[in-house]
Structures are given as structure tokens and as C-alpha cells.
Amino acid sequence: MIEARFSLPLFPEQASTLAPRVDALLFFLLGVSVFFTVAIAGCLVVFAVRYRRRPGNEVAEQVHGSDRLEIAWSVIPLLLCLVMYVWGAQLYFAAASPPPNALEVTSVGKQWMWKFQHLSGPREINELHVPVGLPVKLLMTSQDVIHSLYVPAFRVKQDVLPGRYTQLWFQATRPGTYHLFCAEYCGTLHSGMIGQVVAMEPAEFQRWLAGGAGASPAASGEKLFSELGCDTCHRADAQARCPDLGGLLGRNVTLANGQTLVADEGYVRESILDPGAKLVAGYENIMPTYQGLVSEEGVLELIAYLKSLPERHP
């Protein structure tokens, strides 16, 4: 009982592949910091005591400086900083590059809740179930203001922005329940926009997934695709007035202005909401905007549907 009332954790749980790597950098930074703090505070105290004004020490020794010392105490810290820089950048790169086989989960943040959907269908609010030992990638957007998805035990955080997609990935290493926070101030109930990540053994996770209800996002996306009338123009046959979308994601696209880009989720989202922004070469700007006609979740379902389409060769 006393233990429950008085808990003083000093170090967060390590529950992802990234966590021990970030903590290793922490210990390096702490080592450097403790060294310099002790050195400087030590000098201050020793000098203050030793050179205090007293009979016999009433006149100082006037030293104007030393170029050698100045160079030494500029270059040594700079070298230490370079180590920190490279180390930190490596971790950042690792955190920014999800493995291609990562399990994809979509997420929409709104004031003040987190909504998640797994590819096989189950939806969750303020709770995210993930398997241990497999990389999981979150494709995220916000319906209103900026939020930020933060799981301290995994040492990952990424702002979730309205109007674009951001992503974040992690690989949980230990089954357990971990805090999920919104880290970017988003209004009145910001501190209530919290939840938990439940990391489970893969077999258990599969059972959990199977128990979930609801259509897969790809299936819902297919339904939307025809409800919104997308399929009247985007089709594989001769009547197509717009590009065929099979295998689009990840493909190189040449635009009407001659530029090329890789079609990612953000490009597809933009093309649904603002079709003229990046027009594909060879097509006219005839598509109406779907801004206001389809929700952020709907757009994510459409993207899931497009991803499920096979590449068709005419």
C-alpha cells in the first residue's frame, strides 16, 4: 500500500528497440555534463575559498588571458559536440526510416482523442494494440489542430498535423501497457488526450485482431470509391478519362509541368482534396474537389483501397 502511494520512478521503462539506443546517448551526454558541471563548480568553489580576500591576499595577480587555453577550451568541447551531433543524427535517421515490412496502422488525432485503425479492420480509440517483435508504422493526420503522438517507453514522438501525413514507427520489445500522450498543446483537454499502447505477444495480438469487428479499411475504401463516383473516371478500360490507380502508391509519376514525384500517401490525399494541384501529364484538370465530402478517415480508407489494388498493365 505504501509502495503504491509513494512511487518515485527515476528512469522510464525501455520497451522498444530504439529505447536502449536513446538511453545510451543519454548516458554519454550525462557523463559529459556531469564532468563539466563538477569541473566548473569545483573550480568556482576551490577558487572562492583559496583566493578569498584575507590578510596576505589583498592584491590579485593580473592575467590577461591565454590564446592556447582559449583554443583548447573551444576545440575540445567542439569535438565532443560533434560526437553528440553524429550520434543524435544516427538515431534520428533510424527513427525516420520505417522498415518496408512494418505493420501499418492509421491514426487520426482530433480534439481530444486518438483514433486508430488496423489494416485488417479493428478500430480503437485512445488505445493501440501492437505486437511485440514486429515493426509497426503509424500513418497519422489531424482533423483539427496540431497534436503530437508520444510514447515515452518507446522514446518516440511525432507531431500530427492537419492537412498532411506524418509517420512514426517503433518495434516494441516487451509486452506491457505503456502511456500514450499528446505532447503538442491542443486546447482545453490537452492533458486528457492520453491513452495507452498495449504491446502483446504476436500470437496473442493475432487473436486480438481476429476478435475485432468491422470492415477492413481497404473494403470500406472500395465502397467509398464507388459511392463517391471515383470509378466512373478512374478505370482500366477504354472509357477512362483519368489515370488508372492500380499500383499507384510508390510509383514515379510525371506531372503536367514536367516534374516527377513518387506517389505517396500525402500526394494521393492532396489529389483527392485539391485535384488540380499536381496534375498528371496527359490528363485534363476535370476532377472536382472532394474537400468536405470525405473525412480524414475516408481518405485513409481510399488510400488503403488503392494500396490493395493490383498493378494493371494495359
Partner: protein, 542 residues
């Protein structure tokens, strides 16, 4: 029976405080010393209002549940704490109050270059403060002092515009002070006072002024764009109407990161004065300390993107900003090493200002070193937007700047008021502030690494013990801040009269009476030596 000697009534010497009386003589003054005092008075007011909000925040955080304040009230309180402390206390604190008073005295000038503009800058400050006060009393604002869009433009229903207008206005006060100081330093130095004979406080004010005139207009532009979107629905930041929310963060930090240096550079200048005076030594590495101020001002413009490492900017941009952030750390480190080396083989006198200076060096070191954690990309991802960041910048802003400010106020108090403050009480207060500060903010580093996000009205239970420690520290800190407030006021009447140069310091400001006459010097001083020319055997080291 009276003797002839007793009937001679000594006329008290005329000085800037008694040469004229009445509210009018203060409100229409163009004397830089009186303008400095007007600022000192208004800043102190702002500090205690901002402090009140801090106390309420800390009280709320005593318990994990949000039980003392409503969530909405809590959000307004941390916003107003930030807005008031940053824009109405920290930014003007040392430049506008101490700088205004001391700069012309230090360089042997009669006043600043544009005395009327100087007074105007105070009125602009007051006008800005009036708008912000209106915003506070008419319901408050809840966006955080950072005003992130689209929350501030499209979602918040609080008094965003009056606050923003207040900040827009007060920015001009900052620009005018900066402009005035730059011209004053260029044009009004006493004969013989070459650039490399300038006290380091002047160098730091010069560097600060550069930032004030170059960065503050960007804040004005940003606030105007924010107003255009909020009032006229011009799509600039909100993606729902075609804007880009991250653009706001770039613009905001393009000002606000250099502004961090506006908030610390003058403090560094004060520390150079205190360390030399109370160790009776010339500064170690004068030109390194002087140019590090300029380096900080210049590099400070190039690091704003380190506030956006998780905001969705490109990985490569983040790498550049991380690298530049490490570069700006070096000149700060150089200053710390030089101050420490200055104490070596000095003859150190433990007066209150030195206590603040030693506190500053220690706390600024911790604040600076934890900045290295935040500049490391992979580390920042974990600790940004947590209490780690809160602790880091309070070590710089409060442990650094407020310590330097109080050190400077004590150091120049005899010159300002003509009275000595009570020395022992001063030392005790400095010690209480140091203790309270560390107890308040050190636990927040741990809280941050554990993952407690900032701006949380309620929090998970396991964070409670550290939060209780922090609140306990804040109450000690609060008492520490009240003490100088009380004994400095007391000393105005009962303090021992101060001599012209109670510290035996070298600066020109000490070569004129305390308090100084209206025109500062009876005769324009002529400077023939380097600053900090204290007696002692000269030792050359290469």
C-alpha cells in the same frame, strides 16, 4: 547658543532624483536614469504578476488530478505566465532597466543618443502592457506563449487578438531601445574609450541590440499574419483554408530563438562586471568574451529550426539545424571558462552580487549543457515538449537571466539609489533563491525524461513525488524573490548612504557621485586604460 559652524546648513548635492519633483517630472523625463527606473518599476510589476501565475500552476500540480483550477483556467495561466515573463519581463529586463541606467554612465556620456525616443519606448511598453492586461482581465488567453497555429487562429475562443496586439506593440519598444543603444555606443563614447576599452556589459548590450532591431520585426510580421488569418480568414497557416501550420513555427522561432539570446546576453555582460569587480581582477580573455557575444548573436539567427525536430520538417533540414545548434554552444562555453579563469588568483570578496554571479555560472552551465541534449536529434525526439525542456530553459532564463538581473540590481543599487542594501540579508536571499531554484527545476529534468509532457493540467500518479518537490522548491523560491523586494525598498530610506564607489570598481559609472547628477558627469571623463584595470602584478601567459 550656536556657533558659526552649526548654522551653515549644508545643501544636499543635486542629483537626478532630487533635481525636480512630482509625477510630471517623472512622466515627462528624458533622463536615461529616470527612464531606467520607470522600466525597473514596471518590470518588477510584470515579474510579480507573472510569478503569481507560476505559483498557481505549481499549486495545481501538487496533485495528479486537475482539482484546483479548471483545465481552461490552467491553460490560460500558463499562457499568461509565459507571455508576461517573456515579453514584459525577461526581454526588457536588463537592457531596458539596468542598461538604460548604466550604459551612458559606463561610456562617459550625458545620456543616450535619442533621449525622447527612449522615453517613447517606455510609453510603448506601457501601451503594450495595457493591451495584454486588458486581455488578461477580459478572460485571458489559452494558446501558450508560442501561439501555435491553427489552434491560435481557428480553434481558440479566448482573447488571442488583444494579447497579440500587446506583443506587437511591445516589440517596438524593444526595437527602439536597441536602436538607441547601438547609436549611443557608436557615437557617444568618452574620449579615449575605444572599442576594446569598453566594459564587457557594453559589448553584450551591443550584441543584444543587434538582435532586437533585426529579429523583432519578424515577430511583428508573424503576429500580423496571425491576425490576418484569425480575423479575416486569409489562409496562411490553417491547411483547411490553404495555409501551412509549420510556416508559423518557422516564423515564430525565427524571432523567438534569437530572442532567447536577447534574454541571456545582457545577463552574461553583467556577470563579466561582477566577477571582475569582486575578484579585483582584469577579465581573462577580454576579446574572446567580447566576440563570443557577437558570435552568439550571429549564430543565434541560424538555429531556429531546432524547435521543429518533431514538427515534420525534412530530415536534412533537421540535421543542419542540429549542427548549427552545437556551434552556438561553443561561445557560451568559452564565456563560462573565462569567468572561471578570472577568479583564479584573484582576491575574492563575498558580497551579494558575487553570490548571484557564482549562482549564475553554475546554473547557466547546467542550462547550457542540457541544451546539448536537446540539440541531439534522436534525444530531442524523446524529450522535446516535456518537462525536460521546461527545466532546461528555466535554468537559462531564471537560473541565468534572473540571477544576473538581481546581481546587477544589487551591484548598481548604491549608484541608483545612493544607499547600500543590507549585506547579510542580501547574501541570505541569494542563497535561498539558489536553493529554491534548484529544488524547483532539477526534478523537472527527471520528470521530462520519464515522459511527462509540458502544459498538462493533470498527470499520471507516478509523477507526483517529483512534482511535489518542484512545488516545494517554488515556494522557497517565491520567498527568496520577496526578500530583495522588501529590503531594497527599506534601504531607500534606512540604508547606509553609499559612497561614490563603494566597491572600489574601475568603471566610469563609479567615478561620479551616487546618485549621479542629472548630466552624469561634471566633466567629460577621458579614458586612458583598458577596462578592469585593477592593481596587481601583471603576469603574461601565452
Amino acid at each position: 547658543m550656536t556657533t558659526a559652524a552649526a548654522v551653515v546648513v549644508e545643501q544636499p548635492p543635486l542629483h537626478y532624483l532630487n533635481e525636480s519633483y512630482g509625477v510630471r517630472s517623472w512622466l515627462l523625463t528624458t533622463d536615461h536614469k529616470r527612464v531606467g527606473l520607470l522600466y525597473l518599476l514596471s518590470l518588477t510589476g510584470a515579474f510579480f504578476v507573472g510569478g503569481f501565475f507560476a505559483v498557481m500552476l505549481r499549486l495545481e500540480l501538487l496533485t495528479p488530478a486537475g482539482d484546483l483550477l479548471q483545465a481552461e483556467t490552467y491553460n490560460k495561466f500558463f499562457t499568461m505566465h509565459g507571455v508576461i515573463m517573456v515579453f514584459f519581463f525577461l526581454i526588457p529586463s536588463i537592457p531596458a532597466a539596468l542598461g538604460n541606467f548604466i550604459l551612458p554612465l559606463m561610456i562617459g556620456a550625458r545620456d543616450v543618443a535619442f533621449p525622447r525616443l527612449n522615453l517613447a519606448s517606455w510609453y510603448i511598453y506601457v501601451l503594450g502592457a495595457a493591451f495584454t492586461t486588458y486581455a488578461v482581465v477580459s478572460g485571458g488567453v489559452d494558446t501558450g506563449w508560442t501561439f501555435y497555429t491553427p489552434y491560435s487562429t481557428m480553434s481558440s475562443t479566448t482573447q488571442v487578438m488583444p494579447t497579440a496586439i500587446g506583443i506587437f506593440i511591445v516589440g517596438f519598444s524593444s526595437i527602439l531601445t536597441g536602436l538607441n543603444f547601438i547609436v549611443t555606443i557608436h557615437r557617444m563614447r568618452a574620449p579615449g574609450l575605444t572599442w576594446f576599452r569598453l566594459p564587457l556589459f557594453v559589448w553584450s548590450l551591443y550584441a543584444t541590440s543587434l538582435i532586437q532591431i533585426l529579429a523583432t520585426p519578424v515577430l511583428a510580421i508573424t503576429v500580423m499574419l496571425l491576425g490576418a488569418e484569425r480575423l479575416l480568414h486569409v489562409g496562411i497557416f490553417d491547411p483547411a483554408i490553404g495555409g501551412d501550420p509549420v510556416l508559423f513555427q518557422h516564423l515564430f522561432w525565427f524571432y523567438s530563438h534569437p530572442a532567447v539570446y536577447i534574454m541571456i546576453l545582457p545577463g552574461m555582460g553583467v556577470i563579466s562586471e561582477l566577477v571582475t569587480c569582486f575578484s579585483r581582477k582584469t577579465i581573462f580573455g577580454y576579446s574572446y568574451v567580447a566576440f563570443s557575444s557577437i558570435a552568439i548573436a550571429v549564430f543565434g539567427f541560424l538555429v531556429w529550426g531546432h524547435h521543429l525536430f518533431v514538427a515534420g520538417q525534412s530530415v536534412y533540414a533537421a540535421m543542419v539545424f542540429s549542427f548549427l545548434s552545437y556551434l552556438v554552444a561553443i561561445p557560451s562555453a568559452v564565456k563560462v571558462f573565462n569567468w572561471t579563469a578570472t577568479l583564479h588568483k584573484g582576491t575574492i570578496e563575498f558580497r551579494t552580487p558575487l553570490f548571484y554571479a557564482l549562482g549564475f555560472i553554475g546554473l547557466f552551465t547546467i542550462g547550457g549543457l542540457t541544451g546539448l541534449f536537446l540539440a541531439a536529434l534522436g534525444m530531442d525526439v524523446h524529450v522535446t515538449d516535456t518537462y525536460f525542456v521546461i527545466a532546461h530553459f528555466h535554468y537559462i532564463m531564471v537560473g541565468g537571466m534572473v540571477m544576473a538581473y538581481l546581481g546587477g540590481v544589487h551591484y548598481w543599487w548604491p549608484k541608483i539609489s545612493g544607499r547600500m542594501y543590507p549585506e547579510n540579508l542580501g547574501r541570505i536571499a541569494a542563497f535561498i533563491i539558489f536553493l529554491g531554484f534548484n529544488l524547483t527545476f532539477f526534478p523537472q529534468f527527471i520528470l521530462g525524461y520519464l515522459g511527462m509532457p509540458r502544459r498538462y493540467h493533470s498527470y499520471p500518479e507516478e509523477f507526483q513525488v517529483l512534482n511535489v518537490m518542484s512545488t516545494a522548491g517554488a515556494s522557497i523560491l517565491g520567498i527568496g524573490y520577496l526578500l530583495p523586494m522588501i529590503y531594497l525598498l527599506w534601504s531607500l530610506r534606512y540604508g547606509e548612504p553609499a559612497s561614490d564607489n563603494p566597491w572600489n570598481a574601475t568603471g566610469l559609472e563609479w567615478q561620479t557621485p551616487s546618485p549621479p547628477p542629472r548630466d552624469n558627469f561634471e566633466h567629460t571623463p577621458v579614458v586612458t586604460t583598458a577596462p578592469y584595470d585593477y592593481p596587481g602584478r601583471e603576469v603574461v601567459v601565452d
